[in-house]
């Protein structure tokens, strides 16, 4: 039942930044780390500000872990797991993403409960 849903062209992504996609009524933030040729998808809803803004945050890493900083109040969320760095009790959903034939696809699995679920590892771009 977990199927890949095509979202957009790879050209629609923004290098080293994010975009937001609407998939089955859900807002998904998709980030493209050009330097590592990696794509990540997490929920767009920022639980701290209660606004749909995470796709507009700046990305990078903390101690090697890829992250996005909320543009509102600057809490950091892991792009792999969706867990907040400042408060491990808060997290946003993280989704598997893949790139195939120049198209970006996301799998809307049920949101992760485990913080370090290996099945949620992100696909590297080919």
């Amino acid at each position: 039942m977990n199927t890949w849903i095509e979202v957009c062209d790879i050209d629609d992504l923004q290098a080293d930044s994010g975009v937001c996609a609407l998939l089955k009524g859900k807002q998904i933030a998709i980030f493209y780390l050009q330097r590592r040729q990696e794509v990540y998808a997490i929920g767009n809803f920022d639980p701290f500000s209660e606004a749909n803004v995470l796709s507009r945050g700046m990305i990078g890493d903390i101690g090697g872990e890829p992250m996005v900083a909320s543009p509102m109040y600057k809490q950091h969320f892991s792009l792999r797991t969706g867990v907040c760095f400042e408060d491990a009790g808060v997290s946003v959903p993280a989704y598997p993403v893949r790139l195939e034939n120049g198209r970006v696809a996301v799998m809307l699995a049920s949101p992760p409960v485990q913080q370090k679920s290996p099945s949620l590892a992100v696909c590297e771009m080919e």
Partner: protein
């Protein structure tokens, strides 16, 4: 029942006020009802910096009393009412206006008066003294109808007064009875160098002159006749021939006074009546009057301690001084005249640079007894510490005054100082107190200043303060990382220099060469800002887009619900009715919440990200351009209406504000920058609360720098006076680019200034004197920014690729359904959580 005793303080000058401030901060404050008499019409002000009244400061600027001080502490003050007499038997003070107050304890802080030698003619009109703000006003009135001014007395105050005459635009002379200037503090060599330097500033100095008569002049109002037969014509005579203690009220009630005046006090500052104290310049301790403010403050502390039942005593004071007279550094320490038995002297004189230094050391050359510095006084705090703490001198004491042509300057490591060493003499802060504050967690220069007040008076000790801080932190094992974040082992200033020197144009290039990892929102934003400041590329270029923070990335200001606000530029706050209508039409069409900002423009709220391009297209079509409200960049130049309309305006503040705003618009910086331009000293544009403030005077523009409103307000510092527009702009160019290059990330100019070693004087030396030789480079960089200015919205609207980003969903044209507005006072506002829930229920029901 009121068990409080009454404490009366006669005199609210610098020392009287310092006493009150100390008292209310002590545990004695609850024991006393406090009453004070102040003869002058205003409460205590800074007499040390009195001459700044002529270079732009107002009486309010000079005030030493915080707003509401008297009310807050329940102090009864009689302003403009002089205490006239004391009845020691009844323990009563009677004022000139007839107020009678019973006292239990009495403090005399009556100060001194200027001595006017009994020269025949000294009572002629425009023969003035220099002590109070009223004296200055009299000088101002007299100067308006005068061409020439003479100061009698070449001491410290006399030279200050000469500066005041110079600032008033008069041909200025100093007449001194002694064979040298500042005869008390300087030796012949130092005095001669000071004379040369002062004469280079176009002040004529006449030494060995004994004035015998002042009578009518031919060209001017007066003619001064000297004992040697020479004469000098002048319109104003300013007496500054020393001070005399004001002890008349003490004499009147039979307190003991010295043979040449002064109220006799003991080590607890008690007079011959144990219930009466005397402090400051009216007091005579051990046959000495102390004409400086620091010893007065020391006496005030002694009395506070005595009243609080604590141990404290006044046992004399060091009379060393360091000051800037008309821009000339002068310092005198201890036994400057080598009067000590067996004293040896070292002298260094540099005629080309006009520097004179003299060291007086003990016979065994182990201890420093005194020093004189003229023209260059950076060694002052080191030398003072040697002298006061009896620290053993290095093998070659002259190394302390010889120029350091190579290698590190010879300084005294803070480790050599005992804990009791006084670091800040203005606020009497010891090294021990500073170390305590550092241990308690103060790890920045700015924090240390705020906590201990050290370095916030004259600022002369800030270099020493910094070295104590650095030394203590190292000892505590606190590694103060100045790295900007984990990705770059560099400060923002380092990164700026790397970008500049290696001509780095992108974040990736910098990260490859000097950093690690992917970067983060801290370093990316900082580097984005640096690249924008230095190269001034379009910030939404593909390679820069990931460096733009919350607001820059959509060229608008994100609000709490994820919508944006839009602010078009309204330079100087001047706007035509048509432009106002255009804004109104846009606001109405897109149903935006509209508010006037503090920066004299209009903010339109509630724009969804996908609406921004259409809104901006309409604004640009109407003639607007980006207001950069979203950037860490120049925001606004606020102005008052100025001389064009205002009855009081002295110059065209609106015109200048528009010119400045258009000049600096688009300049990106470590933080936002705000300007203000006022057309007269009424200061309606509140320029002194801005990063850059400009105030019109009758003789040009006064420039203020590094002010701030916000969380921690800071009054801007007066930077330069009476400038023409060209010089004004040159200075602003230099200050701003120097700030852009050297400030920390997210550091406003105010904090930048607070943390700058050398502070305002250093900034002046870089900008005005160009001591680093980078003036032209700074101006060149500003010119580059100006030449490459673009309205970022115009550029964006012309670029299809860029516009693709301005939608909420990459795969849908729908809007964010989480954005919900409700109406309030006729406009929209974001719905709160409860309202949103309510709407959702209605929606689901439907």
């Amino acid at each position: 029942m009121n068990m409080k005793q009454t404490l009366v303080v006669i005199g609210n000058g610098m020392v009287g006020q310092n006493f009150l401030a100390g008292l209310v901060a002590s545990n004695a404050k609850d024991r006393y009802r406090i009453v004070t008499f102040c003869e002058e019409p205003r409460a205590a002000y800074d007499r040390v910096h009195l001459s700044e009244y002529f270079s732009g400061k107002t009486a309010a600027d000079l005030s030493l009393v915080e707003d509401g001080f008297f009310a807050e502490h329940g102090i009864e003050i009689y302003l403009g009412d002089k205490a006239a007499s004391i009845d020691r038997e009844r323990k009563q003070v009677t004022s000139a206006k007839g107020v009678i107050v019973d006292y239990d304890k009495l403090v005399l802080a009556t100060g001194s008066y200027p001595f006017v030698p009994p020269v025949p003619g000294h009572e002629r009109p425009q023969c003035l003294v220099y002590r109070t703000i009223e004296d200055l006003e009299a000088m101002k009135t007299a100067a308006a109808k005068s061409k020439v001014g003479v100061v009698i007395g070449g001491g410290l105050l006399g030279l200050e007064a000469a500066k005041a005459l110079k600032d008033l635009g008069l041909e200025t002379h100093v007449v001194e009875f002694a064979p040298r200037l500042m005869a008390v503090q300087l030796d012949d060599g130092g005095g001669a160098m000071l004379k040369r330097k002062i004469e280079a500033l176009d002040v004529k100095v006449h030494l060995n002159k004994n004035t015998t008569l002042i009578d009518d002049g031919a060209e001017c109002l007066h003619k001064m006749n000297f004992a040697d037969g020479e004469t000098l014509e002048t319109d104003i005579v300013l007496f500054s021939a020393g001070i005399r203690p004001r002890d008349d009220i003490a004499r009147g009630c039979g307190l003991e006074v010295g043979p040449r005046g002064g109220i006799v006090i003991d080590n607890q500052c008690r007079t011959s009546d144990a219930d009466i104290y005397a402090i400051g310049e009216c007091a005579l301790w051990n046959g000495q009057i102390f004409g400086l403010v620091a010893p007065g403050y020391a006496m005030a502390r002694t009395v506070v301690a005595d009243l609080a039942g604590e141990a404290g005593s006044f046992t004399g004071a060091d009379m060393s001084t360091k000051l800037k007279l008309m821009g000339v550094d002068v310092a005198s320490i201890g036994d400057a005249h080598a009067k000590t038995q067996g004293a040896m002297v070292y002298t260094y004189q540099n005629g080309a640079s006009e520097i004179y230094k003299r060291l007086v050391v003990s016979q065994d050359q182990k201890r420093l007894l005194g020093a004189v510095l003229v023209g260059e006084a950076s060694a002052y705090s080191t030398l003072l510490q040697y002298c006061l703490n009896g620290i053993e001198l290095p093998e070659h004491p002259d190394s302390l005054i010889l120029p350091q042509l190579a290698g590190e300057p010879v300084g005294l490591g803070p480790d050599a100082l005992p804990a009791s060493a006084q670091i800040c003499s203005c606020y009497d802060v010891s090294k021990g107190q500073i170390c305590g504050a550092i241990e308690a967690g103060c790890t920045t220069l700015g924090g240390l200043k705020a906590e201990t007040k050290a370095g916030t008076g004259c600022g002369g000790c800030s270099a020493l303060l910094k070295s104590v801080l650095d030394c203590e932190l190292t000892k505590l094992g606190v590694e103060v990382s100045t790295d900007i974040c984990e990705h770059f082992p560099h400060t923002r200033q380092d990164l700026y220099n790397l970008v500049m020197v290696e001509e780095i144009k992108t974040f990736d290039e910098l990260l490859d060469k000097h950093g690690k990892g992917l970067g983060c929102e801290v370093c990316k934003q900082a580097v984005g800002s640096i690249l924008a400041s230095h190269w001034n590329d379009y910030i939404l270029k593909t390679e820069h887009i990931g460096l733009q923070d919350t607001n820059d990335i959509f060229l608008a200001n994100m609000q709490k619900d994820g919508t944006y606000s839009v602010v078009p530029r309204v330079a100087g706050g001047e706007i035509t009715p048509d432009m106002l209508i255009a804004i109104g039409q846009v606001g109405k069409k897109y149903q935006l919440y509209t508010k006037i900002t503090g920066g004299q423009r209009v903010d339109l709220f509630g724009a969804r990200v996908e609406q921004l391009p259409a809104i901006w297209q309409e604004l640009i079509d109407a003639g607007f351009e980006s207001g950069h409200a979203y950037g860490k960049s120049l925001r606004t130049v606020k102005s008052c209406v100025g001389s064009t309309w205002c009855r009081f305006g002295v110059d065209d503040s609106v015109g200048l504000a528009i010119e400045l705003e258009n000049r600096y618009k688009g300049l990106r910086a470590p933080h936002k920058i705000k300007f203000g331009v006022s057309g007269c000293t009424r200061e309606c544009a509140e320029a002194q609360g801005k990063d850059i403030g400009v105030i019109a005077t009758e003789n040009g523009w006064n420039l203020y720098v590094c002010g701030n409103g916000g969380m921690k307000p800071r009054h801007a510092d007066l930077f330069a006076t009476n400038l023409d527009k060209e010089t004004l702009i040159k200075y602003i160019d230099r200050v701003l680019i120097f700030y852009v290059r050297t400030a920390n990330r997210m550091q406003r100019t105010s904090v930048w200034m607070e943390n700058m070693e050398g502070g305002l004087d250093y900034l002046k030396s870089v900008v005005i004197e160009d001591r680093l030789g980078i003036g032209a480079q700074l101006e060149g960089q500003m010119q580059h920014v100006i030449d490459t200015y673009q309205c970022e919205w115009k550029t964006t609207l012309a670029d299809e690729q860029r516009l693709k980003r301005f939608r909420h969903f990459v795969n849908s044209d729908q809007a964010d359904d989480n954005v919900v507005f409700v109406e309030e006072r006729g406009q929209v506002r974001p719905a709160n959580a409860q309202e949103r829930k309510h709407f959702k229920l209605i929606e689901e029901a439907a």
